[in-house]
């Protein structure tokens, strides 16, 4: 009974924090984008603390637009939820759910801290960790493909087709790029990966893991439909892509799914390459303070990587479609395969210990 309660609390906390980050990362994206373009971005809406009689409000953090996510969510909810006449209703409704939920489920197996009061800071420490991640993450493609197909309209359809090819191709590169890591760690458990890294160096510190890190990073840009690989929703080409026919909260679900996917991909990268919650000179085991410190370290790394995702988005232009597929199949796939061999050699020689 107690164990179930602890699990429920952990699930609620993880979901809450992820959705909170998801809401605020949109704001961060807008601010960073504005700064990169020499603008200021949203800087008006604060969190309302108290409403005066005349309808005005006392707000907090208006300069930093801390209330912007609130207002954006309200806007999405209050907009008309329009369903076009000729859509396939079942799949039209199912698509946003399928886009959003796998991204959230991924967080179940990601260790976001060592332990707190003896409770391991991971929702489900399954022994097929990374396989679970890829199994669930690959469902995301159904959300986008279904959205494109059920909309019964040309642009979403084209976006859906592009994304199905793109996501499936890059999933292979993504999967192959992390194979060498698990050969070194000798376990598929994500908590083991972090423990290994806290005992040795972070996996990114070994030169033979640099290539996989690069391939993983580029592939995760493609997997999360972020620029420079945002084919499925290329606004200028597809008038918005797979989500053209969506409005109101269903559109917001796709929007949030993109960011949740981004957070999931970053969290996974932190876990696999950047040492998860571990940091040199911070004790691996300890009391409540050490436990909290580990969670903070994980979050700090996560935010750094999220910033990198945003930074790259506002730097690079979109790839052409054939360049994207060429890069995936002709460059990343052979390199990832080659890298499996290289790391196998390194392990055979005994350099990795």
């Amino acid at each position: 009974m107690e164990a179930i309660l602890i699990h429920l609390i952990k699930i609620a906390c993880v979901l809450g924090v992820v959705l909170l980050i998801c809401a605020y990362i949109v704001l961060v994206e807008r601010r960073v984008c504005a700064f990169i373009q020499d603008r200021l971005g949203p800087n008006r809406v604060g969190i309302p603390l108290w409403f005066r009689k005349d309808g005005s409000a006392i707000t907090l953090g208006g300069k930093w637009a801390l209330g912007q996510p609130l207002v954006d969510a309200m806007k999405s909810l209050l907009k008309e939820d329009f369903v076009p006449a000729h859509v396939n209703k079942l799949y039209f409704w199912l698509a946003p759910i399928l886009a959003m939920s796998p991204a959230l489920i991924v967080f179940a197996v990601i260790p976001f801290g060592s332990q707190l009061l003896g409770v391991p800071m991971i929702v489900a420490d399954v022994n097929v960790g990374i396989l679970f991640v890829f199994a669930t993450a690959s469902i995301t493609v159904y959300g986008i493909v279904l959205a494109g197909w059920s909309s019964n309209s040309k642009y979403p359809f084209l976006g859906g087709i592009r994304s199905s090819a793109q996501l499936i191709s890059y999933e292979i590169c993504l999967g192959l790029s992390v194979v060498p890591l698990f050969m070194q760690v000798e376990s598929l458990k994500l908590s083991e990966v972090v423990t290994w890294q806290s005992n040795h160096l972070w996996l990114i510190c070994y030169p033979w893991n640099w290539l996989p890190a690069l391939i993983y990073l580029a592939s995760s840009f493609a997997e999360t439909n972020r620029l420079p690989f945002d084919m499925p929703e290329a606004e200028q080409e597809l008038a918005g892509g797979y989500n053209v026919e969506y409005s109101s909260m269903k559109f917001a679900m796709f929007f949030m799914a993109e960011y949740t996917n981004m957070i999931a991909a970053s969290a996974l990268m932190v876990t696999l390459f950047l040492g998860g919650w571990s940091l040199p000179f911070v004790p691996v085991t300890g009391g409540i303070l050490v436990g909290l410190a580990h969670i903070c370290i994980f979050l700090a790394k996560l935010f750094g990587l999220l910033f990198f995702f945003i930074w790259v988005r506002w730097t690079l232009p979109r790839f052409r479609y054939d360049q994207l597929m060429g890069l995936g199949w002709k460059v990343f796939l052979p390199l990832a395969l080659l890298n499996v061999l290289i790391v196998a050699g390194v392990i055979m020689v005994g350099l990795s210990k």
């Binding site: 700064f35 990169i36 020499d38 200021l40 690069l214 930074w311 790259v312 730097t315 690079l316």
Partner: protein, 166 residues
């Protein structure tokens, strides 16, 4: 003519150095001076030739320059202008000189900012000038009357001094 494709070096073909230099450039922009104008608090400087909304002007002695000839009312394509002309009272100083508008309304919901009124005005009494932010809470509030138009227009010195000679 045959164009030779440039031979890319290995670094260029790898694409990674180009990405890194791009990232460095965008990162440096984060700290640069921002160009945003915080609009309601800061207003942009309106150049003198700006074509804003139509306004009425007075001369330097505070007289309404409009003589209610109604040319602007007739030329106005969307019929936004409505003028009610009036004779000066018999004991007024300029009683025998000119007429004057009793009422001068411009419906700013109809105005298309074409500038025909300014072009046609024989007295140089109506101008399309600075005011650009036209807003109101009702249709009625968007019909600007004489007082409002004169307030927006202000004074424009008249070098001809036509009224002096009469």
């Amino acid at each position: 003519m045959k164009l030779e494709r440039p031979q890319l070096t290995l670094a260029e073909r790898l694409y990674v150095p180009a990405v890194l230099s791009g990232l460095a450039l965008t990162f440096s922009h984060i700290f640069r001076k921002k160009v945003t104008l915080q609009y309601p608090e800061e207003k942009p400087v309106i150049p003198p030739g700006y074509r804003g909304q139509p306004v009425l002007v007075k001369d330097e002695e505070g007289r309404v320059k409009c003589v209610a000839c109604q040319l602007c009312e007739f030329v106005c394509p969307p019929r936004a202008i409505t003028i009610k002309p009036m004779e000066y009272p018999a004991d007024a100083k300029h009683a025998k000189v000119e007429k004057t508008p009793a009422e001068f309304d411009i419906d700013m919901l109809r105005c298309i900012y074409c500038g025909y009124c300014e072009e046609v005005c024989p007295e140089q009494a109506i101008f399309l000038r600075g005011p650009y932010s036209v807003s109101g809470l009702s249709r009625k509030a968007m019909v600007f009357n004489k007082a409002k138009l004169l307030e927006l227009g202000g004074t424009l010195p008249d070098p001809i001094k036509k009224w002096k000679k009469k």
